[in-house]
Symmetry: C2
Subunit: 139 residues, 2 copies
């Protein structure tokens, strides 16, 4: 049975349950950043998904990209480039990062993973980001 | 019309033309690493691919993962985890990294992108890696 790895609870917040994935907002105000976790027990790699699940996954990655762009726009930091990553070196449960990047962000042009400490959202920005993402993802 | 960005020529070597992507071996002996470049003119993000192309893409990412595992096995450094990344912050042409990771590799558990300098293959290892990858990808 699928259960979300507790590691995600500390670093992200629920946005929406998509057909395949739990979509979560990464709690790092430096980047517009959504994490997708397929609700498939014991999945670690993309190869662990069926062909149908992979099709759902790519559709949800594209929707998460649109949501990340909406978050960036709502916070007046429009996204200039999307980055998508599936690593899982620390948290094995299969998950995908969809991250909005800007040339003035603190990790540019490198990857965001493992770069510096997360910066907490203030409550107003968190509400704005959450609302913008859910408007795109569905509630 | 599609033309491979010249940036890939300096850092990788052709392995196979898959139905959607050019598959190339990253010339960095530190990691078993394949780069996939969809032959779609002007594509920058996954959203620029059609639904059919996205299905081909995920299939090719899975095959590239198997090829990366074969490279690791052939070089007696079995892959323990796959990492997949689509960044494009420096080279905009849409491309995907499929990287074999090990807990003893020089970037573990962080991402490989932007970490240290590439290490050249010796000619024997390059031939072994190339052959192992092509055996999986098709020639």
């Amino acid at each position: 049975m699928f259960a979300l790895d507790p590691a995600f609870l500390a670093t992200s917040q629920a946005l929406a349950s998509l057909p395949l994935c739990e979509a979560r907002l990464q709690l790092d105000a430096r980047f517009a950043w959504i994490v997708l976790v397929p609700r498939i027990a014991d999945a670690v790699e993309i190869e662990d998904l069926s062909v149908e699940e992979r099709a759902m996954l790519t559709a949800e990655i594209v929707v998460a990209g649109a949501a990340v762009r909406a978050v960036g726009a709502a916070l007046e930091r429009p996204v200039e480039k999307l980055n998508v990553g599936q690593l899982g070196n620390l948290t094995r449960q299969l998950h995908f990062h969809v991250v909005g990047r800007r040339a003035d962000d603190p990790a540019w042009p490198g990857p965001v993973w493992g770069q510096g400490a997360a910066e907490p959202y203030d409550s107003g920005s968190l509400a704005t980001a959450t609302r913008a993402a859910i408007d795109v993802l569905g509630g």
